[in-house]
Each structure stands twice: as structure tokens, then as C-alpha cells.
């Protein structure tokens, strides 16, 4: 049971006429009864792997590397020898579409044809077998006389599955088993495949961009981007804690995994990828200049997890350890923070929620270096935060305050206010500074081109406008981490909604991480990846957004009041 039945070694596929390989140096091995999921955006090379294993690309592409079936290298065999392996040993369920099935044969005839070609069954036996197969995949045998165009998408998918199972293969490759199926049919299909896999013990490869399908059917997962494997690991772990920015982007884009959150796709490329460097470089939120030139290798980052990233996966941008802070007040000691631990990874939105007075702002100020903790340390990019060493620089850490009225110097003009950090840090020439200010204001949906607006004094602006000017002032330094302390709580609901969407949009395109502090649970749920819940100075709960909320609503009754607020 434990022997490896399929091994793919350094598989590279270059389509004729294409420059970039569709599949690049892919390695994996499958044991009997095991399962593997392949995920990735369209065009990432998932299907090409399946087709290459099935030997269907020999005419249209150059294939390098080797595919072994129980020690036999399939590429070295003659066409005739090879064909004895396909369907009987390795079968593939093609992506469901009308074109996949022969339109002039009934579905029953097509399955029978497959059986007759690859097995030694007689006509009568094969007719029986077809019936049996159709029942197995939950298809009414009487409808075997239908033509493909007379069937619905779900039924055609069943027919395709029956066809692939017809010769009892040891390896089953399924390409997008559930696309174009409605929710009910999708569930049935997943149940069916899971049942068959349990029963027949074949090795299963599921190719899909739908994460719930992969999550339900496979135990291991590989994430593909532009033909390369960028992350590999146990399905459950990878989906719970992705280590590559691309994987995280895919997970964040899945409505099924994020039932409450707003959906944000991975932003498009900001520039062309270089041929030498990391493929994902143009879209990565934690890239370094060196990523441009050196391709990353798929390497172990910890047990059962491989990531192709120069930075060893998503880096932890900020780490707070054992942070404590107390205030003395009329002889009483108020513990604002007690032994708080917090970690923020690059490009991640972390929400810190809690009631008023739970110590959120104190923690935020300690993290940004504005306030010194009594005990504990904060590290930003592995460097200890003290004073303004993390914030007084480009690509550092910035904080935006709750009260837009106190956060801006009222006598400053809008331009002066946004330009202030550039001036303090002496970045760029006067012309460059002005251009940057204008661009930043435009990105925050303020009339940056309007000279009159630039010359307006801050006290003439509304609260929403001021908060945006304050945000522009922080973002002009292109921070890697933005600490947003209740930035929307003083705004009306409509302004708040606009502001949050805009901010989240900017966060998504620019890729900075954000610590979003709020007492509004619903809001946190809309935008956060991870949440920390604070109460009386302690962090009482942390985790991915969905998990933490179920805890809040079910386990701890008092948290409901927070939700009610």
C-alpha cells in the first residue's frame, strides 16, 4: 500500500511557439491512496501537468523531465507500450465542457468505447460494466442513451468520471471537477469523488482553482504560479496558514473560505517580471530588490512545508513580546497592557478589537514607538523599536490617529501637512515632493491637482477630508506597516464606508500590512485577515478572522455585548 506509484521528476513543459515554460521543474510523488491538490490562477500550468502526465502534449510541446509509473519511465517507452498504461493505470477526467465528449455518440457508447479499447471485455460484459459504472457515479443508466448536449453540466461531469474510472486506474487526475456546477451538484460531486477515492484507493490528483474542492478532497497541496510550484504542504495547514504571499492572495480571493469578508483579488503586476528572478516579484508585497534577479528555490521552511521565496515565506514584519504598560492614577494602578504578544506578517491586515479602555490604543502606541513600554520589546523587521527609529524613515511603520482634528496642524495648508514628513526626512527635491503629495492626495480621492485645494488651511476641511489628509501624510512615506487607530470611528457611516474601502483597496494594491484598531466587530470582519481581541489589557483571543468570531459568539457570552455595540 505504501509504494510510490507515480513520480514526476523535473517536469518542464514548453509549448511550441511559447517562450516561457508553462510548467517549470515540477517534482512530486504519489503513493497509492494518497491525494494531491494543485491550485493556482488560470494559466498557471495546472492542467498542463495533467496533460503532460497523460502524454497528451508530445505533439504540441517540448517536454523535459520524466514521469515514472511504478519505476517505469513513461517517456522512454514506445507509443504502443505507453498506451497500455494510459487509462488502465493512469486516467484523467478532463475539464468539463461540451467539447470533451463526442457529440455524435451517446454517453453510454463513449464509455463502452473506452472499455473496449483498453480492456479485453466482450461487448456484453462491457455493456454490463457501463451500467455498473453509471450507477456508481450516480447516473441513471437509462439515460446512457442520451447525447452529451442533452445532459446538464453535472451529469456530463459524472459521465466523464465514469469514463475515467472505467478501467480501474491506479492514478486518477481530475481537472476542475466542479466548475460550472451549482452548489448542490458541486457538493454531490465532491461527496462522490471522496467516496470513490476511499473505496478504490487510487492516487488522486485534483486540479482546481476552487479551494473548498481541494480542501475536501486532498491531503496535500501544491500551489502553482506561472508554471512553478511556489508552496507545498499539507492542505489543512497551507489553507490555514499560508506561507507564500501568492497562496495567501488566493485564499483571500475565495468567497467560500471568507464568508463575511470583502473580496480582494491579488493585485495585477505593477511591472514586467524579469526572466531571471522570482516570477511573482511584480505582484509580491514583500519583495526585495534581489528577488528581481535570482530565482527562488522550493525549500523546506519547516516540517512538511516547502516555499519558493527568498525571504522564506511571508515574513513577520512586527513582533511584540511581553508588552506591559501601566498607568498610575490617583494612587491606583491601571494595567493598560499586560504581557501582550502580537505578530504582524507582511501584507496582512490584523484587526485589534476590544471595548473602549481595553488598552488597544496603548498597545498601538507602544508598537509604533510613540510610547515606551514598562516591560517587553517590539521588533520591526527584526530591529528593536525605540522612539521613532521605525517610523522616521521610508518603508517603515506609520501610525494614523483616531482624531483627525488633533492629528493635523490646523494652520498648515493641505500641501504643507502632507509634505511634512518628506520635509523632516529631507526626501527628494521640492518638485518631487510636490508631485508626490499630489499623487498621494489623488490616491486618497482628494482633488490633488487643484491648487486651491492644496492651499487650503486644514481647519477649513471636514473630518473625513482631514482623516484622508492624515492618511496621505502617513502613506507618503510608503510604509510597510500602517497602524490605524480607530481611524473611522469619528466619521459618519457613509464616509466611514468610503474611507475603509479606499484604505483596504490601497492596502491591497500597495501591499502594506495594517494593524487596524477598532471596537467595531463587523468592520473588523469585513477587512481583517487575523484578529486579536483585547480585554482589560490582555489579549484574550487571536486567530484567523472566522475562527475567532465563532469563539466570540459561542463561547463567551460577554463578547456578545461587544458585537451588539
Amino acid at each position: 500500500m505504501e509504494e510510490t506509484i507515480l513520480r514526476v521528476k523535473n517536469l518542464t513543459v514548453i509549448y511550441h511557439g511559447g517562450k516561457e515554460p508553462a510548467v517549470h521543474q515540477v517534482n512530486f510523488a504519489l503513493k497509492r491512496g494518497s491525494s494531491l491538490g494543485l491550485i493556482g490562477e488560470s494559466g498557471s500550468g495546472k492542467t498542463s501537468i495533467g496533460l503532460a502526465i497523460m502524454g497528451l502534449l508530445t505533439k504540441t510541446a517540448t517536454i523535459e523531465g520524466a514521469v515514472y509509473y511504478q519505476g517505469t519511465e513513461l517517456g522512454s517507452l514506445s507509443v504502443k507500450e505507453r498506451s497500455s498504461f494510459y487509462w488502465r493505470k493512469i486516467a484523467m477526467v478532463f475539464q468539463n465542457s461540451l467539447e470533451t465528449l463526442n457529440p455524435v455518440l451517446t454517453v453510454g457508447e463513449q464509455i463502452e468505447e473506452c472499455l473496449r479499447r483498453h480492456t479485453t471485455l466482450t461487448r456484453v460484459e462491457s455493456k454490463e460494466k457501463v451500467k455498473e459504472l453509471l450507477i456508481k457515479v450516480g447516473f441513471d443508466p437509462a439515460r446512457g442513451l442520451c447525447y452529451p448536449h442533452q445532459l446538464s453540466g453535472g451529469m456530463r461531469q459524472r459521465v466523464l468520471t465514469a469514463m475515467a474510472l472505467s478501467c480501474d486506474p491506479d492514478v486518477l487526475i481530475i481537472d476542475e471537477p466542479t466548475t460550472a456546477l451549482d452548489a448542490g451538484a458541486k457538493n454531490e460531486m465532491i461527496q462522490l469523488l471522496a467516496g470513490l477515492h476511499r473505496e478504490r484507493k487510487f492516487a488522486l490528483v485534483v486540479i482546481s482553482h476552487e479551494l473548498p474542492v481541494i480542501a475536501n478532497l486532498t491531503s496535500r497541496i501544491m500551489v502553482m504560479y506561472k508554471g512553478k510550484i511556489v508552496e507545498e504542504g499539507k492542505t489543512k495547514d497551507v489553507l490555514k496558514a499560508p506561507q507564500h504571499t501568492y497562496t495567501r492572495g488566493l485564499i483571500n480571493s475565495s468567497p467560500a473560505l471568507n464568508p463575511y469578508r470583502d473580496l480582494w483579488g491579488i493585485p495585477g503586476a505593477r511591472e514586467e517580471a524579469t526572466t531571471d528572478g522570482c516570477n511573482f516579484f511584480p505582484r509580491c508585497s514583500q519583495r526585495l530588490e534581489s528577488c528581481k534577479n535570482i530565482p527562488p528555490r522550493l525549500e523546506d521552511v519547516f516540517m512538511e512545508r516547502k516555499v519558493a521565496c527568498h525571504r522564506g515565506g511571508i515574513v513577520t514584519l512586527l513582533q511584540g513580546k511581553g508588552i506591559s504598560k501601566s498607568y498610575r492614577f490617583k494612587g491606583k494602578t491601571i494595567m493598560a497592557c499586560v504581557d501582550c504578544e502580537i505578530a504582524i506578517r507582511a501584507g496582512e491586515v490584523v484587526a485589534l478589537i476590544g471595548e473602549s479602555g481595553s488598552g488597544k490604543t496603548t498597545l498601538a502606541e507602544i508598537i509604533s514607538g510613540v510610547l515606551a513600554p514598562d516591560a517587553g520589546e517590539v521588533f520591526f523587521e527584526r530591529e528593536r523599536v525605540s522612539g521613532h527609529n521605525a517610523s522616521a524613515r521610508k518603508n517603515g511603520l506609520q501610525i494614523v490617529f483616531q482624531d483627525p482634528f488633533s492629528a493635523l496642524n490646523e494652520h498648515f495648508t493641505v500641501e504643507q501637512a502632507v509634505r511634512e514628513p518628506l520635509e523632516i526626512l529631507k526626501l527628494g527635491t521640492l518638485v518631487e515632493r510636490k508631485a508626490l503629495v499630489k499623487q498621494m492626495l489623488k490616491e486618497l480621492q482628494l482633488p490633488g491637482e487643484d491648487e486651491d485645494f492644496l492651499m487650503r488651511r486644514c481647519y477649513t476641511l471636514s473630518g473625513g477630508q482631514r482623516q484622508r489628509v492624515a492618511l496621505a501624510r502617513s502613506l507618503v512615506l510608503e510604509p510597510q506597516l500602517l497602524v490605524a487607530d480607530e481611524i473611522s470611528s469619528m466619521l459618519d457611516p457613509s464616509t466611514q464606508a468610503n474611507m475603509i474601502r479606499m484604505l483596504k483597496g490601497l492596502q491591497n494594491t500597495k501591499g502594506f500590512a495594517m494593524l487596524f484598531i477598532t471596537h467595531d466587530l463587523m468592520l473588523a470582519r469585513k477587512i481583517a485577515d487575523t484578529i486579536y481581541v483585547m480585554r482589560q489589557g490582555r489579549i484574550i483571543q487571536q486567530g484567523p478572522v472566522s475562527g475567532a468570531f465563532s469563539y466570540l459568539t459561542v463561547r463567551d457570552g460577554s463578547r456578545d455585548t461587544l458585537i451588539e455595540k
Binding site: 510613540v370 521613532h388 517610523s391 490617529f401 496642524n409 511634512e420 520635509e423 523632516i424 492624515a470
Partner: protein, 278 residues
């Protein structure tokens, strides 16, 4: 410029009048030689004369024109008043700023010194220091400055501490702003109006203090300040035998009172305007 016009526009009638008086006194003080027609040092007529067309306010025991002396005295009052205000205002303001900005040890030291300054009896100390340093205008300015920096320092310190708590200052600090940037863009625009009010008050106080010192004979005898005129008048042993003494005593007294009253009215009104946000 706009702002100054706004402030002037908001002044009440009384304080506009006060402003005019102040400006006139400054004008007469600066142009003493132009407006006096007679020498403030040399006799220019008979002694102890009442007001006439030649001598507007009469003459003193030596026949020196009183109007010329009053004009000369205005110059000294203005010089001492504003000199001390500037010196004590800037010095005290700076000390207050440093104490408020750096806090801790410096703050404690400055605050205790200020307490000490406030507790010490001003006039007594002034007399002692005046006698010690010797009578001259510059010494008087220095002595008075030493005694009056505490008030502006306190005011500036307390405002600075509250300014430091404001998030715009925290934000600027987080971008790496140092003392100079913060002072230039965030502190000074807020502190200057406060300092202005406190300094105008200080001008009034100082003028009175200088007059008191001079009256007591501790002023610069060569400088004809209003206090010295009064001192001379009172010390003239024959003063009560002539009917003219009242002109001699009255004119410096009235000049002093009018100027102080004008400054007091003006400072009160400006304070009101500045306290409500413009």
C-alpha cells in the same frame, strides 16, 4: 499680515483708543528731539513757570522745559518697558520651552527656580539689585528682566506640555522631527500669541517698576525718566511754597497713568481675542 488686520479689526473702541495712545507715546518718545523744542537738560526759561505758549507744561526749578523732559521720559519708559519685555519674554519663553519639551530634571530645576522667583518680594529685590549694580538704564533693564522672566516661562511651559500631547506633534515626532522643526511649525505659532499677551502686560509692569526705582532715587540720574522727574519734584525742598508744583508733579504722573492704563486695556482686549479661536 491678514491675521494682524483681523486682530486690529476685532478690537473694541476703548482698546483702539489705547492703541492710539501707545503709538503716540512711542512716537513722542522716539522723536523726543523733534517734538520738544527745548533741551531736556539745559535751562530754557525762568524757573518754576506755569504752562505757557513757550513752555507747554511749564519749567522746573532750574528753568528746564517740562514737556521736553516728559518726551525724554517717554523714550526711557518705552525703552525699559519693551526692552525688558523682549528680554524677559524671549529668555523666559525659551526657558519655558526647554523645560516643557525636555521635562524631567530640567523641568524640575526650572520650575523650582520659578517658584523661588515668584515667592521673592519683587520691589525689595529690585531695590537691592538696583543699588548693587548701580544706576544705569542698561542695568535697570537687566535687573528687571531677571525679575520678570518667570511668568512668561510658566505660561509657555504649561502650554507646551499640553501641545506635546497633541497627536499632530506625536505624528511629526514619529516622522523624526526634532526640537527645531517642532518649534518652528508646531509650537511657535501657538505660543507667540500667548507670549504677546504676557509681554504686553509685562511692559506695563516694567514701566511702573522703573518709575518706582527712579522715584526712590535708584534710577539713572542722568536719564530724565518720569520717575526721576517725580523724584526731583518731590525732593525740591521749596516745592510747596510755589503754586506751580502741581504742574511739576502732575505731568509725569498723568503721563505714567495714561500709558499704563492704555497698555492694560489693550492687553486685556487682545487676550480676549486670542483666547477664542480665530
Amino acid at each position: 499680515m491678514d491675521k494682524r488686520r483681523q486682530v486690529v479689526g476685532k478690537l473694541k473702541f476703548t482698546s483702539r483708543l489705547a492703541l492710539v495712545i501707545l503709538l503716540v507715546v512711542i512716537l513722542f518718545g522716539l522723536g523726543a528731539d523733534l517734538f520738544a523744542f527745548h533741551s531736556p537738560q539745559l535751562p530754557s526759561g525762568p524757573a518754576l513757570e506755569g504752562p505757557s505758549r513757550v513752555h507747554w507744561l511749564g519749567t522746573d526749578d532750574l528753568g528746564i522745559d517740562l514737556w521736553a523732559q516728559i518726551c525724554q521720559g517717554a523714550r526711557i519708559s518705552i525703552l525699559v518697558g519693551f526692552g525688558v519685555a523682549v528680554l524677559a519674554g524671549i529668555g523666559g519663553g525659551l526657558i519655558g520651552m526647554l523645560a516643557g519639551y525636555y521635562g524631567g530634571c530640567i523641568d524640575r530645576l526650572v520650575m523650582r527656580t520659578i517658584d523661588l522667583m515668584l515667592v521673592l518680594p519683587d520691589l525689595l529685590l529690585m531695590i537691592v539689585l538696583g543699588a548693587f549694580f548701580g544706576p544705569s538704564i542698561s542695568n535697570i533693564i537687566i535687573v528687571l528682566s531677571l525679575l520678570s522672566w518667570a511668568a512668561p516661562a510658566r505660561i509657555v511651559r504649561s502650554r507646551l506640555i499640553s501641545l506635546k500631547q497633541e497627536q499632530r506633534v506625536t505624528a511629526a515626532y514619529s516622522y523624526g522631527a526634532g526640537f527645531w522643526h517642532l518649534t518652528r511649525y508646531h509650537f511657535l505659532p501657538e505660543l507667540l500669541p500667548l507670549l504677546m499677551v504676557s509681554n504686553i502686560k509685562l511692559v506695563g509692569k516694567t514701566i511702573v517698576a522703573e518709575a518706582s526705582l527712579s522715584f526712590l532715587g535708584l534710577g539713572d540720574p542722568t536719564a530724565k525718566s518720569w520717575g526721576i522727574i517725580l523724584n526731583h519734584a518731590i525732593n525740591f525742598s521749596g516745592i510747596y511754597f510755589t503754586p506751580y508744583w502741581r504742574w511739576w508733579v502732575l505731568s509725569p504722573l498723568v503721563a505714567l497713568t495714561v500709558l499704563i492704563a492704555a497698555i492694560a486695556v489693550l492687553s486685556r482686549d487682545i487676550e480676549k481675542i486670542i483666547n477664542t479661536k480665530i
